[in-house]
Every structure is written in structure tokens, then in C-alpha cells.
């Protein structure tokens, strides 16, 4: 069983760490280098974690379990205008990234206005591609309650972040964190940092619940193992985009064009099966330069085989 770990240290002898990850059958999910500092998010088989921790300590770094590692989360605001961006949406996204999530910040095209706010079907489909979403609302109770249609039909779990606590919206989202609202500056004060912790705890609980549901009918193969296969593809190796392969709870996002590479992806072999037979491969609604691979559960594969 893979677990996601984050290494936080320096670049000194980091090649030894990369070699160890490879030797243990793990995979690097994301890496961030800032001058001499290095942060690596990795998926490692659970029983090999002590070996990684030992080397990390020797290299002068630290390892920590990241509760949102291997997830992709959307942070959604009504618009990308100055009223809603960058604060506090970017602070929330950064907090989730520190817990290992890959985040995307999104603004709706027509999300402004109490009576006129709307979300397009395309936007709903895009949000539904992520493992979960945070919807950021403002400071007026009546306005938040009037805008519930923006997130009530999202199929993935939603954490709603607002100023005042709205009423009657508990069925439309997994969790509500109030006391935030519009900000004109970064959330730096202790009470504001506490609110960010509250938001991240709510999201961690949402993801853990989702993981438990997946465990009840496990995936045919762990997404990290498919990630290892994808790293052998030229289109991924020579991809210039940061994090060309992103892990999600039930699969991966591969940032290569669907039409050009779907055949190649379907023919990848995993445990003696074609990937195309044990996963749904489709183009991303966000852009045709990305492909979504949703790994089927074991029972889904069995059912498919029986047909």
C-alpha cells in the first residue's frame, strides 16, 4: 500500500534520495526546488518508509506524512477579479499545498452578483474532475444563501468557506468554515492562521472519508504504480510542464494531449492487463492538452470482464 511522504531538506546528496525512491519502487509526485532547498513529495510502499526516513535524517532533512498527498483540489472563487483574488483564495490554496495537495485556483466566468451569479455546465464538469473543491464566498449571509446553486450540484465533495455562517446549506456541502470572508491582505494574524488550519482540517477529513469509501472497493491498481509506467513514455519524459503527471484519489491527470496519445496509454500493461481495460481514459474538460485516467475498482473490472 503506497503512502505519500514529503521530504523537506537541501539539495546536498539529493541524488541518493532519488535513487533510493526508485530502488524501493516508489515514485516522485512533485518536487520544488528553491535555491538550496528542496521539497519532494513522493509515494512510497508503506513498509519502506523507515528506509526513506533514515536517509532523510542523514541528509539533514525531515520527512512528514502529508495528509493530502496524492490529491488534486480546486479552490473556486466567484470570479478572478480583485474582489475575490488573491486573498484569501491563494492563502487557502497554499495551505492545502503544504499538506501535499496539488491545487488549482479557479474563478467562474459569471460568478459575480447576488441574483445573476451562475456556473456553466462546463465549469461544473471541470470542478468534478478534481478530488474535492473549496468554494470561497463572501461577507453577506443572504448573498451566500442565494448563491448555493453554484456548488449544490457539484458531484465531488465541497468545503464551503464563508464570512458569516449561512443557514440551510448543510446538505449542499461536506463542511462549512465560517469567519473568513473577503480579505484585502494575506492571512497572517494568529486568528487567521487558525482559520486556515480549520479549513485544511475540514478538507483532510473530507479526503479521508473519500479514501475509506475507495478502500471498500479498492482500485485495480494504485495510481502511483500507473505513474511509474507513465514515466517511461517519451511524451511524459520530455514534457516541459511542471508536474506532467498528477496523482488523484482514483487515478491520474496526465498533461499530454488525449487524441495523440490515447492509443499509447490504452496499451500500457499493468499486471498483465491493458490499461485501457482497467481504467477509463478520457480528455480533460479543462483543456484538450490533458488526459484523465480514472482507474476502475476491482469489482468494476470483474463486472466488465463478465460482460
Amino acid at each position: 500500500m503506497f503512502e505519500v511522504l514529503m521530504f523537506d531538506g537541501g539539495i546536498y546528496r539529493s541524488n541518493e534520495l532519488y535513487e533510493l525512491i526508485d530502488d524501493l519502487g516508489g515514485v516522485v509526485i512533485n518536487q520544488t526546488r528553491s535555491q538550496q532547498m528542496l521539497m519532494i513529495t513522493m509515494a512510497i510502499p508503506g513498509d519502506e518508509i523507515p528506509a526513506v526516513e533514515k536517509l532523510a535524517k542523514e541528509l539533514g532533512g525531515v520527512t512528514k506524512k502529508v495528509s493530502l498527498g496524492g490529491t488534486e483540489i480546486a479552490v473556486v472563487g466567484p470570479t478572478l477579479g480583485r474582489h475575490h483574488m488573491p486573498h484569501p483564495i491563494c492563502d487557502i490554496a497554499e495551505m492545502l499545498r503544504r499538506l501535499g495537495a496539488i491545487t488549482v485556483v479557479m474563478g467562474l466566468a459569471r460568478g459575480r452578483g447576488k441574483g445573476r451569479a451562475q456556473i456553466m455546465a462546463e465549469e461544473k464538469a471541470i470542478v468534478n474532475e478534481y478530488d474535492a473543491a473549496v468554494f470561497m464566498m463572501g461577507n453577506f449571509k443572504t448573498c451566500i444563501e442565494a448563491k448555493s446553486h453554484l456548488f449544490s450540484e457539484i458531484e465531488k465533495p465541497v468545503v464551503l468557506v464563508t464570512g458569516p455562517r449561512p443557514e440551510g446549506l448543510d446538505e449542499d456541502c461536506e463542511a462549512i468554515v465560517d469567519g473568513v470572508g473577503r480579505k484585502s491582505e494575506r492571512m497572517r494574524r494568529p486568528d487567521e492562521r487558525a482559520k486556515l488550519e480549520e479549513i485544511s482540517e475540514a478538507m483532510v477529513k473530507v479526503i479521508e472519508d473519500r479514501r475509506k469509501i475507495i478502500l471498500e472497493d479498492p482500485l485495480f491498481v494504485h495510481p502511483a504504480e500507473v505513474m511509474q509506467l507513465l514515466e517511461g513514455l517519451d511524451a511524459v519524459t520530455y514534457n516541459l510542464r511542471p508536474a506532467p503527471v498528477v496523482l488523484r484519489l482514483d487515478g491520474l491527470r496526465v498533461k499530454i494531449p488525449y487524441r495523440e496519445h490515447v492509443k499509447e496509454l490504452e496499451e500500457l500493461q499493468v499486471y498483465g492487463r491493458r490499461l485501457g481495460d482497467v481504467a477509463e481514459i478520457r480528455p480533460s474538460r479543462l483543456s484538450d492538452s490533458s488526459t484523465i485516467i480514472r482507474i476502475l475498482s476491482r469489482s468494476e473490472v470483474e463486472y466488465k470482464d463478465s460482460e
Binding site: H84, K114, R116, N139, F140, T142, S184
Partner: protein, 188 residues
């Protein structure tokens, strides 16, 4: 600067009080504002912002903010209102290049090869700049969806009424009453 917020949403009132205060500080305009009154009814939705500046912003030329005299090398200025020093330097540098404009001391500037007559009427501050910046602060604060607006911006009182729906004569009259109460003039 005194800000009062009245409205039907207690959380929103407190939040927007702080939001507007912070936006004015960030823009460096809190010192030019004397009083602000905000009325907000988000359920309708209607927002009225009325603001009084400490002084009426006026157009200023160089001779208003500095004493000028002719010297053999060119014009010599002694800045009398230091608030305008950055603007004076910036405008003279742009017009005559840095190598011809010397800041001899904190208040003294020499402009080579230029007579007093040539520079005394250069505009240093437009009265509209401060007002436009304050109006920008008000637009930044108002909720983004409130696109129907009624503005009263003559003199040193600025009032903006904003709503998402139809702008009615009744709402306009409410804005005018607030504008007058803040000391503004309304020419209807």
C-alpha cells in the same frame, strides 16, 4: 478618519468597515478622508457609500507649491509644500531630463537652461487625481456584481450608490439625501 457602517447584516457591516479602512490605508488615502458613511442592504441589494474629503482637491501649478526665481544657470525653485516634492521632481525630470534638473538640497531645485516663465504654470497636481483614487477605493470595496451605479462626485463629498438591479428614482433620492447630509451639493 471616521467610518460608520449601517446595514441589515451585522457580520457584513463589521467586515466592510475593516475592508474599506484597509483599502484606503493601502492606497495611502486615509489621511485625506475626513468621514465615511456606508449604508448596505445586501438582501435588496443596495449599497451607498458617501465620503467627505478633508479639503476640496484643487488643481495646483508649480508656482502654487514653490517659489521661483531666475538665476544665471536657469530657474531655481524653493519647494514650499513638501507633499508635492516627488511630483515636482518627476515632472521636471520627464520634461528636461535628469542631467538638467539638480536637487541642490531638500527644498531647492535648479533647472538648467530654463526660465521661470517657462515652468511656473506646469501642473503639478490635478484636482481629479485624488478624487479618482478615492473613487477607485470605493469601487474596489463595493461587491463586484453591483454594476448599476449612480455617482455624485462634485466638490469634496463623493457619493456612490450601487445596486445589481434597476436604478430607481427612489434610490437616487436616497443617495442625494445622504450626499447633502455629508455636506455635498446636488445639482439636479
Amino acid at each position: 478618519m471616521n467610518i460608520t457602517v449601517e446595514g441589515t447584516d451585522p457580520y457584513g457591516n463589521e467586515a466592510y468597515h475593516e475592508l474599506f479602512r484597509r483599502i484606503l490605508i493601502d492606497l495611502g488615502k486615509n489621511r485625506v478622508v475626513e468621514e465615511v458613511r456606508i449604508v448596505q442592504r445586501p438582501a435588496d441589494p443596495v449599497f451607498v457609500y458617501s465620503l467627505r474629503l478633508r479639503t476640496r482637491p484643487e488643481r495646483r501649478v508649480l508656482s502654487d507649491v514653490a517659489t521661483l526665481r531666475d538665476e544665471p544657470e536657469g530657474a531655481r525653485l524653493t519647494i514650499s509644500d513638501e507633499v508635492f516634492a516627488p511630483a515636482i521632481l518627476s515632472i521636471l525630470w520627464e520634461r528636461y531630463r535628469r542631467d538638467r534638473v539638480d536637487q541642490l538640497s531638500r527644498y531647492e531645485i535648479s533647472v538648467q537652461g530654463v526660465s521661470v516663465e517657462e515652468i511656473e504654470d506646469i501642473e503639478v497636481s490635478s484636482g481629479d487625481k485624488v478624487k479618482n483614487e478615492i473613487i477607485d477605493a470605493m469601487w474596489r470595496t463595493l461587491p463586484e456584481g453591483m454594476k448599476a451605479r449612480y455617482n455624485l462626485t462634485e466638490g469634496n463629498v463623493l457619493t456612490i450608490l450601487a445596486t445589481e438591479d434597476k436604478m430607481t428614482e427612489e434610490l437616487k433620492e436616497e443617495a442625494r439625501a445622504m450626499h447633502r447630509a455629508m455636506g455635498g451639493e446636488v445639482n439636479v
